[in-house]
């Protein structure tokens, strides 16, 4: 299979370099050939402009956040509590809160999601059920995050009576990232060649042994990428924790899973929309946005790195 792809690739290059060009020369007049070349140049330039504009836009966001935030972010900013009605001091409790919420979300979603993916890929052969479930999961992945927030409010905060708390927020975020974890793990498990499973069965291994020792280790980089990307998503989401976990200010560290917390993304939002000192708060918000941006870029960077390495390893 791999050799075949290489061969077609080589052929394509040959076509592009020699055959296509000479065919153009032979079959059409020189003038129309030149027009075609001009159109090609213009078209390629247009597409180049598209990617350039995209990178410039997105780069400018990163640049502005860095420019505004780099003066604010110091070691003290990361480790201190806010002071003077949010106009001075640091963001430590918000960082801690985001850490708790993200950890909680992964603790909820990872075992459930992984088990679901393993069951769907390794135990049920029926493709009809698989398709139905896949469509359901895809749909949930597209549901707006604020709707997950409402679900969390109705079920965890009110129905189960957990209140506005770390627990409610973690559960809500966990359900939010569940579809992503399931589909990433499923994809990774399905990419494991069947011959490996068959070889394992042929050696007398049971299904569980095959899963534990052959399939999951093989699929691990893919699963890990999906999980890390989900962590990044959970850390950056605001809408789901708006009514389930987040507080503008807490006096103490969270005492139990049932206390409300400050969280980094919500902190940025609250600084921009509440409070009485908009100017000083904007400065703190710049710092918080920079910290969040670096955090999320580091997390998703790790995931992308793992994926790239795995790709080159597998060819």
């Amino acid at each position: 299979m791999r050799r075949k792809i290489c061969v077609t690739g080589v052929f394509r290059k040959l076509f592009e370099r020699t055959f296509a060009r000479s065919a153009g020369n032979v079959s059409v007049s020189a003038g129309s050939y030149r027009n075609k070349q001009a159109a090609q140049k213009a078209g390629f330039f247009l597409l180049f402009c598209c990617i350039l504009a995209t990178l410039l836009f997105l780069g400018s966001i990163v640049y502005f956040i860095f420019a505004g935030g780099s003066k604010v972010v110091t070691w003290g900013f990361l480790t201190q509590w806010p002071r003077n009605a949010m106009t001075e001091g640091g963001i430590f409790p918000a960082l801690l809160g985001t850490f708790y919420l993200t950890l909680g979300a992964v603790t909820v979603a990872l075992p459930l999601g992984l088990a679901c993916a393993v069951y769907l890929c390794e135990y049920t052969p029926g493709s009809l059920a698989l398709n139905a479930i896949r469509i359901g999961i895809n749909n949930l992945a597209g549901v707006p995050s604020v709707v997950f927030g409402l679900f969390g409010l109705a079920v965890f905060v009110k129905f189960f009576g957990f209140g506005v708390s770390v627990l409610s927020g973690s559960l809500t975020l966990g359900i939010l990232i569940l579809p992503g974890i399931i589909s990433a793990s499923q994809e990774a498990l399905m990419a494991v060649p069947n011959s490996l499973r068959e070889a394992s069965f042929a050696l007398g291994a049971t299904r569980w042994q095959t899963i534990k020792k052959i399939v999951v280790p093989q699929a691990l980089p893919g699963i890990l990428t999906g999980v890390i990307l989900s962590i990044g998503r959970a850390a950056g989401e605001t809408a789901p924790i708006l009514f389930t976990a987040a507080a503008f200010y807490t006096r103490r560290y969270p005492q139990s899973p049932f206390s409300e917390v400050m969280a980094l993304p919500y902190h940025i939002y609250a600084l921009m929309t509440e409070g009485t000192h908009p100017r000083q708060q904007t400065v703190i918000a710049y710092g918080s946005a920079l910290v969040l941006l670096i955090l999320v870029l580091l997390i998703s960077g790790t995931a992308v790195f793992i994926r790239q390495r795995h790709r080159s390893y597998n060819g």
């Binding site: 296509a20 604020v146 409402l150 946005a289 870029l297």
Partner: protein, 296 residues
């Protein structure tokens, strides 16, 4: 030696139960939305809810018409698509068809990385940088308007649309390109007349998922779109999309009140819209895979 429960069957049932729990969780969302939202229609008729233009949930004589909110959502989404489709699809074409291997190795991870920037950062950027800048540049009364929201959301969705379209393009068999080049077409002609039509439904899938993502985006529009519940007549008016209405008002609505139910009913509308988009995307992408003869 035969035991009642073998180790294997225990593992199988544990996995089965966990998977089932997962699905119950996910199905539960739908049920809860409808359970909390549907009672509204005992008090407000569905038609008034969908076609009323007045959204005054906290007045003494409250009115729950979401047409202006829906119009706000559609307006912002339409604007965002004008930004995001050309940029996203153009970038995907560049990465897949023009960029060399080195460029590809840099650009693809970079786009993936940028897809991870949280929406709150986009909202913050829009509020402190883009809105004041546009206000001065265009001499408009406020920078927090549909135009700014569209611009930011559009840029935000570019990485999503770009990676999905790029996937679709990479599925087009090399033989299509080779045949076209062998007939004497230039690379540009091959791109426009062969590759793009072949990947058409795959790219439409990407576009639909982009629309769905933009329409469900909450924090950015909450911070940037201005928040006025009126039917917009120009791009430079403040609007209030469905998502930001929920986020802005749920904090004040008492549990079980009509206002609370109305916000859940809005969530139902959002859910239905994204559901339709996702099903459409699913059907299109299945047709695409069949057309190109890809199994999974």
């Amino acid at each position: 030696m035969k035991r009642l429960f073998s180790k294997e069957s225990v593992y199988a049932s544990v996995f089965g139960i966990l998977a089932f729990a997962c699905l119950i969780f996910l199905a539960g969302i739908t049920l809860v939305l409808f359970k909390e939202g549907l009672p509204l229609f005992a008090k407000v008729s569905l038609w008034d809810f969908l076609s009323g233009t007045a959204w005054y949930p906290t007045h003494e004589d409250p009115e729950f018409g979401i047409l202006s909110l829906l119009a706000g959502s559609l307006w912002v989404t339409a604007g965002a698509m004008l930004v995001c489709l050309p940029l996203g699809i153009g970038s995907a074409l560049y990465i897949n068809e023009i960029a060399g291997n080195t460029q590809k190795a840099v650009l693809k991870p970079l786009v993936e990385l940028l897809a991870g920037i949280p929406s709150i950062v986009f909202g913050f950027f829009g509020m402190v940088v883009v809105a004041p800048f546009l206000q001065r540049l265009l001499h408009i009364p406020t920078g927090l308007c549909a135009f700014t929201a569209s611009l930011i959301l559009g840029i935000m969705a570019v990485p999503t649309v770009c990676s999905l379209s790029e996937d679709a393009l990479s599925y087009v068999p090399a033989s299509y390109r080779e045949a076209s080049l062998a007939l004497g077409a230039t690379r540009w002609e091959t791109l426009i007349k062969v590759v793009l039509p072949a990947a058409g439904s795959g790219i439409s899938t990407a576009a639909i998922l982009g629309v769905s993502r933009v329409m469900g985006e909450t924090m950015t529009v909450l911070m940037v779109s201005g928040g006025a519940a009126i039917i917009p007549h120009s791009f430079f008016q403040p609007v209030r999309p469905l998502t930001s209405t929920i986020a802005a008002e749920m904090g004040e609505a008492a549990v079980g009140s009509t206002h609370y139910q109305a916000l859940f009913a809005i969530a139902m509308v959002l859910f239905t819209l994204t559901f339709i988009f996702n099903i459409a995307a699913e059907i299109l992408s299945r047709r695409y895979r069949l057309k190109l003869g890809i199994q999974r």
